[in-house]
Symmetry: C2
Subunit: 388 residues, 2 copies
């Protein structure tokens, strides 16, 4: 009998009560049952986004909402600035290219954060830039970009700030209205503790004005049409009903915990994970601006990171993520966004200690765990879990 | 205590064993667990589609796959022929318009089927037409279009036949390869007995060639990219994992029943529903070419069909669909595609008999039910249920 532990940056574990809510018989989305459910979910999403704007739900993966962010705010031939510091930054540029949007790319070393001055200078050099595309948390490298600082550059201008918050919303404080973020997208299988299949997008007043002018082709991912439907507690096309039912439950759990406790919990889990990895001599891949959603760790010299991932999976039933793209084989990533408490981190570090020894990289047993425990004990008020 | 009965043409009821399969802890789509699951599902979909081609899975509603059918096979300025015999025919034309595809529309009276000769003549008049877009079953009217006859017009030409089979696949025989259908799309919440959230599309060799040339913009709904991923048992973007797990189970159930029994069951359910409605003096909305997925019935003179829908819902806990667009208030629709057996039809007709009397439209109690029973008894070999 081996229990399984999932510590990947999406899908993340789904709480039992959410799974059971989704296992109830299906209801019809045009029938009266759906209206109060969707109304509650819309309110909960505004709370999560810290916005007065409508948060739109699409049946798609997060990439669908990224595409919507491009095709609904820009026009053919528009010029966009893209921060490329990992696989998901690259995706912004690819989507722009697919729709004929010209991009200037700021290439950031993987694992590092963008310097806001680079953005300021690029915008000065090209006054025709209409939008800045960036990740709040670059899932592929485990680095976070300084969204607040970037928002101070764009907020009193006509330039849109478009934020991929897929592994940041519900993890770190990202107050959309307060900071003046123009487009914020996220997905269900991250901090929202749901299976994949829902994507979310919210637009500021400035972004809605841009949406009025936008002439890029779109049909399924049409925010204007979707907003009109949402205001009557409907969706333009059949919603993923069972996932929306799960969302109602997960938002209830998150509201019970409260945003400050949620942010504190993620910060603590991330600090403990970093402390644990460093205590056994491992180097962080994103040491200067680490994401609170996922900790990326360099493999010891001479050891393929994929071997660690495989050993953890096959021998300890602990699923973590390897590196992507250029980082493949060099790093492994332990996720801690969503339905995680301190003992999930203890489990992953314990498994890591054993797996490294198995693979011939000798580390003192218990040392990573001890470092994490010490981190957890520095702030006894920490929320115990999402369900606390 | 009131049990609830769902008889809408999507969502359709989800079998308990599928609901429970989806309630299991989430697995990671890049991990080894997912590979055999996805491989089995790919095989099952080919069986269902009766094709050797890859059937691609998108996380979206069915409309997403309709959009993919347009944006992946055509080029800017191409000319398409669209059969518009209801809301979903109109959707084909709207998607084409959104992407700059010129359309010639054959407007068919709602409730009627297109005459294949109209298609033949339209193609003769406009030799530049690249594709014909049609519904196998027009869900909004309950009529079916003659796909086999239309395929005989297109199959030995360069013209693509694009079929919305969202409420037809797994309901009636629609052998993609045998008939030479070029693009076939469907959705999860129909005959596949799943919650909404997955869309499917398969392309013929001819359609794949068109996909090579297609220059319409696309990113999320990119069939070439998706096929490449499917061949390694992956998806380009995070799949809706829990729904794919449900799909494995529902395909297993369908394979156990077998395609001939599935088609016979739907035919029988549709015949019984029509017989029941007619036995109490109601007129069918699509009498000449009725869909086997959904039966649309005209409301008696002087009675708003929405009143029938409401009475059934609020007093009998039986959810059926009203009319859409121009047919709103004039018709109601009883669905019987997916997880239905004969007694679901008996329940809906029984509730209809009582509701009509409640609303002052006097019908003999038991008469619709008796007509349905007689229909069921004409062929004792009928499969009892999807799970039989």
């Amino acid at each position: 009998m081996n229990k399984r532990y999932l510590l990947t940056p999406g899908p993340t574990p789904v709480p039992e009560e959410v799974l059971l809510a989704m296992a109830k018989p299906i209801i019809h989305h045009r029938a009266a049952d759906f209206i109060p459910l969707f109304e509650e979910v819309r309110k909960g999403l505004k709370w999560l986004y810290q916005t007065k704007e409508e948060v739109l739900i699409f049946a798609s993966s997060g990439t669908g909402a990224m595409e919507a962010a491009v095709t609904n705010t820009l026009c053919k031939g528009d010029h966009a600035l893209v921060v490329r510091g990992g696989k998901f930054g690259e995706r912004w540029a690819e989507i722009c290219k697919a729709y004929g949007v010209k991009t200037t790319n700021i290439d950031v070393t993987w694992g590092e954060a963008v310097d806001p001055n680079q953005i300021r200078e690029a915008l000065k050099r090209s006054p025709d830039i209409k939008a800045v595309f960036v990740q709040a948390s670059e899932t592929s490298t485990g680095a976070s970009h300084p969204i607040k600082e970037i928002s101070e550059i764009t907020r009193n201008t006509d330039i849109l700030l478009v934020v991929d918050a897929i592994t940041a919303l519900g993890v770190v404080d990202l107050p959309m209205d307060l900071w003046g973020l123009d487009v914020v997208v996220t997905g269900s299988q991250k901090a929202l503790m749901l299976p994949p299949g829902l994507a979310f997008i919210a637009l500021s007043e400035k972004a809605w004005k841009a949406a009025e002018k936008s002439d890029l082709p779109k049909f399924y991912f049409n925010v204007k049409k979707e907003k009109k439907n949402h205001l009557t507690n409907q969706t333009a096309y059949t919603p993923a009903v069972s996932l929306v039912i799960g969302l109602q439950k997960s938002l209830q759990m998150m509201q019970k915990e409260g945003l400050p406790a949620i942010f504190e919990r993620h910060d603590k889990l991330a600090r403990a994970t970093r402390a644990g990895a460093q205590a056994i001599g491992l180097e962080l891949y994103a040491p200067h601006s680490p994401s609170a959603a996922v900790t990326s760790v360099k493999s010891p010299a001479g050891l393929d990171a994929q071997e660690i991932v495989k050993r953890l999976k096959n021998h300890y039933h602990v699923t973590i993520a390897g590196g992507q793209g250029d980082a493949k084989g060099k790093i492994f990533r332990i996720a801690h966004l969503g339905y995680y408490d301190r003992f999930d981190i203890i489990v992953s570090l314990s498994a890591l200690e054993m797996a490294l020894n198995d693979l011939g990289f000798s580390v003192e047993l218990g040392r990573a765990v001890a470092a994490a425990e010490a981190e957890f004990m520095t702030q006894p008020a920490m929320a115990k879990a999402a369900v606390a």
